[in-house]
């Protein structure tokens, strides 16, 4: 019945008639715990008494939200592009102006407000291709293989759409790491694809084990057709940076098993640990010789949301496709045209990211200083986080080699696990909810990312400002000890 007493005709769109795949979609990063955090923030604003004065949201990889400053040069160029009258303003440096001018010339009608082609502004794709070539030691990159996108997520979902087909036993299976960034599981659920989970090795710094890949694949072949292998490097939520050897092994595996490789490399500048280095899948692939470089199909993804830019709101990103069947490429180009075009400010931002100030330019010094400071701060916080958490009995934290998160293993007393199950909650959700209610810290339970049965984790970002992060870590330590005592 409606409020005014009229009888409800049965709606057209109900839980029963809705696309059934949608029911399976979940996204823990913005899930129930975050909703509760927002509610608590409102309560605090209304003056409700709590054991804390603010909620610290360490759930989402949002750098600026946590106080990281944008790169001045990038924002100057974007302002100039938005309001070209500023090109006459002497307060803007010449190198910012020249880049803005160049970008605007590539836009329809000289405006960020014109549609671009669905693949993205050609000049920008060329610049991205040059950037990739520089990054990969000269290995050629064809701008035509670059697809600009609305953040990396857009391109990832598009690629998955292209890959998924078949019914029943011949339904497409897609391999994804456990733990994983839940965009993948959500997209696979939405598409009705089969998720093939392969476990990363927690005892070995979350590294990838080929034997485990093989196991997962063999198992999966019984009920689906595995077509793709997704890998996130540097890893989210785990923070591991894969070794070159590992990347070669994965490529060899994909070649042997005829799998399409999806390499999510959005954290490629976020590498902190000694002895760790980012190796792009494309680079390694081509250095392995034509036997692999001419055969293995690869899509690599990058974005302006992470690294030192942290510009999530702009939704800038791209995908590079390698060895894509030309006919399939036609389909891909058609598929991206459905959403018209990626946001042009995001495209413009990406262009400046791949064309940063050069040593002989006026903005260079400031740019380098800002970039180095941002990355150094992240490295410091990564180190501090793993040190402090590892001091807590019952919390075990792998080195945060890269990315922006820590994914420690938490030991939960059996009584706590029982109470959680009675409440119908996964134990780590139970833990995280209590942490939120008692300390005002919002993390995401490991169950949102996947973990081995019987193990529990949480994902915390290393993004809060250093002093705040210290406080957060201290509170977690307190909480964990209290929680352990309470349920022992």
């Amino acid at each position: 019945m409606t409020e005014n007493g009229c009888e409800h005709r049965e709606r057209v769109l109900t839980m029963d008639t809705m696309n059934p795949n949608i029911k399976r979609v979940e996204y823990a990063v913005r899930g129930p715990i975050v909703q509760r955090a927002v509610q608590i923030e409102r309560e605090l604003k209304m003056g409700v008494n709590k054991p804390f004065t603010e909620v610290i949201k360490a759930n989402i990889g949002d750098c600026h939200a946590m106080g990281q400053k944008p790169i001045t040069f990038f924002r100057q160029v974007l302002a100039l592009c938005s309001y070209p009258d500023l090109l006459e303003d002497s307060k803007f440096p010449e190198d910012a102006k020249s880049r803005a001018h160049r970008i605007l010339q590539a836009c329809g009608g000289g405006s960020l407000g014109a549609y671009s082609t669905s693949q993205g502004i050609e000049m920008i794709r060329q610049d991205v291709a040059r950037y990739i070539e520089r990054r990969d030691g000269g290995i050629a990159c064809d701008p035509d293989n670059i697809y600009l996108s609305t953040g990396a997520s857009d391109a990832i979902v598009t690629m998955l759409k292209l890959l998924v087909s078949g019914e029943g036993m011949s339904r497409t299976g897609v391999m994804i790491s456990i733990p994983q960034y839940p965009l993948y599981s959500a997209a696979l659920a939405e598409l009705g694809a089969v998720q093939i989970s392969y476990y990363l090795d927690e005892d070995n710094c979350w590294s990838l084990d080929i034997n485990e890949l093989r196991r997962a694949l063999q198992e999966a072949k019984k009920h689906c057709i595995p077509r793709a292998l997704c890998i996130i490097n540097p890893g989210n939520p785990t923070g591991q940076v894969q070794s070159r050897q590992c990347i070669e092994d994965v490529i060899r595996f994909a070649a042997t098993e005829n799998l399409f490789l999806m390499a999510d490399e959005v954290y490629q500048d976020n590498v902190y640990a000694e002895g760790c280095k980012f190796h792009s899948f494309k680079k390694v692939l081509f250095e392995m010789g034509p036997e692999y470089s001419e055969k293995v199909e690869l899509a690599s993804f990058h974005s302006t949301s992470k690294c030192y830019m942290g510009e999530c709101g702009f939704r800038g990103g791209y995908m590079e496709v390698v060895n894509l069947d030309p006919e399939v490429k036609v389909q891909l180009t058609k598929l991206v045209s459905v959403r018209l075009c990626p946001p042009v400010p995001g495209q413009a931002l990406l262009d400046v990211v791949v064309n940063p100030p050069q040593p002989d330019e006026p903005s260079y010094d400031t740019f380098i200083k800002e970039r180095s400071e941002t990355l150094a701060t992240l490295a410091e916080k990564a180190n501090m986080t793993q040190e402090i958490l590892n001091q807590v009995p019952g919390i075990k934290c792998n080195p945060v080699q890269g990315a922006m998160y820590t994914f420690p293993c938490i030991h939960l007393p059996p009584k706590a696990i029982l109470e959680a199950k009675e409440k119908g909650q996964s134990p780590d959700m139970f833990y995280c909810m209590k942490l939120l209610e008692e300390k005002g810290i919002c993390l995401v339970p490991g169950s949102g990312f996947g973990q081995r049965d019987g193990t529990y984790h949480f994902r915390m970002t290393i993004l809060p400002p250093k002093e705040k992060l210290k406080i957060v870590l201290a509170k977690i330590k307190e909480f964990h000890q209290h929680f352990t005592d309470q349920y022992s």
Binding site: E3, T14, Y27, L78, G108, G113, A114, D325, V338, V344
Partner: protein, 477 residues
């Protein structure tokens, strides 16, 4: 040989727009001109897409000043920007985490902006209440449409979902439908009556559709693209009643709502009319209405700002809508800012009001003048006729080809209007789109051209078209 050739059939079947041919030719000609190859014209005149800025119209100053200040807050200290720009930017930045537009926002859009949109909607609809919780901001209205399709469409036979769509309709929506595995059920708009929507035709289409699929939704574009038609209140009521009787989910694409030319014509939203149709209908018919910052006088297509307002949606489904949105992180912040400024523009007394209202008025005047001029020119030309142009960005005139022209096109294995457009482009440099791309009744032919352009560009385009058309008609008479 890639296994990917066994590609998802949903993707493979997607209609490949014939505009590729025209686009390629246009690019080729532009390149030739640049290389100094002589033609009868010095440049390609592109009236093919609904892109105001590409067509030479300048962005609204206030919008771009606010955007610039939000992107680079140091400008808030700048003397050159008006006070209301700075206040607005400052206010928007306060809504962003960390005071930066680089942060993610709520997946469905910044709360304050949704509040602004709901107020805008209520004002527009003469007081009909609107809740920010029912508003979902997206990266362009096309994305919002696609989200609705994701919820509504089941692509598994035998209960494959059908969606009723008007003929003609713009090409990328067809693409979106096929991409989601929906069955397209076309209903023909009545050209002779000015592209009106006839309920009998809806009924015919629905019954035909029920034989092959499960029709679930009815899509309307009002004001129409490409037709430029604006629905009368009576027509909207008929459609709503039809949807109520036949249990259809209404998808009302209203992105051109602010482009109405004629004094005697008024846009009324589906929501408003629905709210005034008695409680049985108004509280039960499910409606999604779409709007965007890409059209209207702002024309900010590249910023990707759009929204959908959901009326009478099942609360449980709404929850899933929210989850679905959350997986796409958040809509682009530039687009959100544009929407906020669209919903709440400068008011009389504000420092920017004068410039703002002049700019908006000038665009409106321009479109009105163009609409008149087009009808004038077409009235003089044989073989081309046009329904009264009331709203939107385009005109969709009918071409009456002589039989010889049709034969010639058949020989070339092409649609006559496509061939007409290719020749038109080649001979005069004028780039418009053929009716076959939008759908039309059998043996009828049309072209679509942009009306929302500078008066002198419009005049240039009309002269080129006139010259070509006369020659073409003479050749095939």
């Amino acid at each position: 040989m890639s296994f990917l050739r066994e590609i998802s059939p949903l993707v493979r079947n997607t209609f490949l727009s014939e505009k590729d041919v025209l686009l390629r030719l246009a690019a080729q000609i532009a390149a030739e001109i640049q290389q100094g190859e002589r033609k009868d014209y010095i440049e390609v005149l592109d009236l093919s897409s609904g892109d105001l800025h590409r067509g030479g119209i300048k962005p609204i100053t206030f919008v771009r000043q606010v955007l610039a200040a939000c992107f680079y807050p140091a400008l808030l200290e700048d003397d050159s920007l008006p006070l209301d720009v700075k206040e607005r930017a400052d206010d928007l930045l306060r809504q962003c985490d960390g005071g930066s537009v680089g942060s993610y926002t709520d997946s469905c859009g910044i709360t304050k902006i949704k509040h602004g949109l709901s107020k805008f909607i209520t004002r527009r609809d003469g007081g009909v209440p609107s809740s920010p919780d029912d508003i979902f901001i997206t990266s362009g209205s096309q994305m919002a449409l696609m989200f609705m399709l994701k919820l509504l469409v089941q692509s598994k036979v035998p209960c494959q979902t059908g969606v009723l769509i008007p003929v003609p309709t713009y090409a990328s929506f067809n693409l979106a439908l096929e991409d989601h595995g929906a069955v397209i059920i076309p209903y023909y708009l009545c050209e002779e009556q000015g592209w009106t929507l006839q309920v009998e035709e809806l009924r015919r289409a629905l019954h035909a559709g029920r034989k092959t699929c499960n029709p679930v939704a009815l899509y309307i574009c009002n004001p129409g693209n490409p037709t430029g038609h604006i629905q009368s209140r009576k027509s909207i009521e008929e459609v709503i009643r039809f949807a109520a009787e036949e249990r259809l989910f209404l998808l009302a694409d209203e992105v051109y709502q602010s482009c109405v030319y004629r004094e005697d014509t008024k846009f009324e939203s589906y929501k408003k009319v629905l709210s005034e149709m008695g409680s049985t209908i108004s509280s039960t018919v499910e409606l999604a209405s779409f709007n965007s910052a890409s059209k209207g006088f702002m024309g900010e297509c590249g910023l990707r700002g759009g929204y959908v307002e959901l009326v009478n949606l099942d609360p449980a489904v709404k929850e899933y809508t929210r989850i679905l949105f959350s997986t796409r992180s958040s809509p682009p912040v530039g687009g959100q800012i544009a929407l906020d400024l669209m919903a709440d523009p400068p008011k009389p007394g504000d420092p920017s009001f004068l410039t703002f209202s002049e700019e908006v008025q000038s665009i409106k005047n321009m479109m009105c003048k163009n609409a008149c001029r087009i009808q004038e020119v077409f009235a003089e030309l044989p073989g081309i006729s046009c329904q009264p142009l009331k709203a939107g960005f385009f005109v969709f005139p009918c071409l009456h080809f002589p039989p010889r022209a049709i034969k010639w096109a058949k020989k070339r294995q092409m649609e006559p209007d496509m061939l007409y457009c290719l020749q038109l482009l080649e001979e005069t440099g004028l780039h418009v789109r053929p009716g076959c791309e939008y759908g039309q009744r059998k043996d009828s032919h049309h072209i679509r051209l942009l009306v929302a352009t500078h008066e002198d560009i419009m005049e240039d385009a009309l002269q080129r078209l006139k010259t070509f058309h006369m020659r073409f008609m003479k050749e095939f008479s």
